[in-house]
């Protein structure tokens, strides 16, 4: 894909760049959301200490991946 130059001399990000940016942003949002909701749900099922850290980390990675994938698709379908 050729690099499109916008009307103001500023290079527009390519489609793949936007998908990548969408994934990064979705991953960040998903990590933050996973940290919050994962902490709640792991505390509720009775995890404490080191186990809690592992549980929260797993939830964060999972929700980050899910969010990132969906956000990347969302960027991809409209560029």
């Amino acid at each position: 894909m050729p690099v499109a130059v916008g009307p103001y001399g500023q290079t527009q990000p390519s489609c793949f760049d936007r998908v990548k940016m969408g994934f990064m942003m979705g991953f960040a949002v998903g990590m933050a959301a996973g940290a919050m909701f994962g902490t709640f749900s792991c505390l509720r099922i009775g995890m404490r200490g080191r186990e809690l850290m592992g549980g929260v980390g797993k939830t964060m990675m999972q929700s980050g991946g899910t969010f990132g994938t969906f956000m990347a698709i969302g960027m991809g379908i409209r560029c």
């Binding site: 500023q10 942003m25 949002v29 959301a33 909701f37 956000m71 698709i73 969302g74 379908i77 409209r78």
Partner: protein, 185 residues
């Protein structure tokens, strides 16, 4: 699972926010969001269900392929439908808030995320409504924050980018009937 759907739908709604230039004007935004959300849910659901169906099938390549296809065919349209419901309702409330408040800012989408969560959980009782509303609001707030950060980062990268001039309305078109609202943020 429903919570995950709502979460993902909420987040995908707000992705439009971070590129305001790509957003439709208000009444048509509902259609745009609804269709975009359906597409996104169907594609994303297809990807995830393909993996899930593959892993949950009995061993043997043909079984796994068939299981994967079955999972995609049954579940991906469902996920797209829930995304579309979320997106459509979210945009409707968003546009209503734009009209009522007369401005467009991050609070609109946070509020509409919370209200969408509440409305969609209405049949599960007040406690579920509050929980779902909190989840929607928090998610939309996160996304709005990320969008604001991204905008700030992008504008600090290109400090000399000129502001886009107000485009003159094309002749022969009626003025937008949706009132004027300004874009804050």
């Amino acid at each position: 699972a429903a919570a995950a759907v709502a979460a993902a739908a909420a987040e995908e709604e707000a992705k439009y926010k971070m590129e305001e230039y790509a957003r439709e004007p208000c009444p048509w935004r509902i259609v745009d969001d609804c269709g975009g959300a359906f597409t996104m849910g169907a594609i994303g659901g297809g990807i995830f269900q393909a993996v899930k169906g593959f892993r949950n099938s009995p061993s043997g390549m043909s079984h796994r392929m068939r299981g994967s296809l079955t999972a995609i065919k049954t579940r991906a349209p469902q996920l797209g439908g829930s995304f579309a419901v979320w997106g459509g309702l979210f945009s409707m409330i968003d546009c209503g808030l734009v009209k009522v408040r007369g401005k467009e800012d991050p609070w609109n989408s946070i509020t509409s995320g919370a209200m969408t969560g509440a409305v969609l959980a209405a049949r599960n009782g007040p406690v579920a409504m509050v929980g779902s509303a909190a989840m929607g609001g928090i998610l939309l707030a996160l996304i709005e924050g990320a969008g604001i950060l991204l905008t700030r980062f992008a504008s600090s990268q290109f400090p000399t980018a000129p502001q886009y001039a107000e485009e003159p309305a094309p002749a022969g078109m009626p003025p937008p009937s949706f009132g004027d609202y300004r874009q804050y943020q």
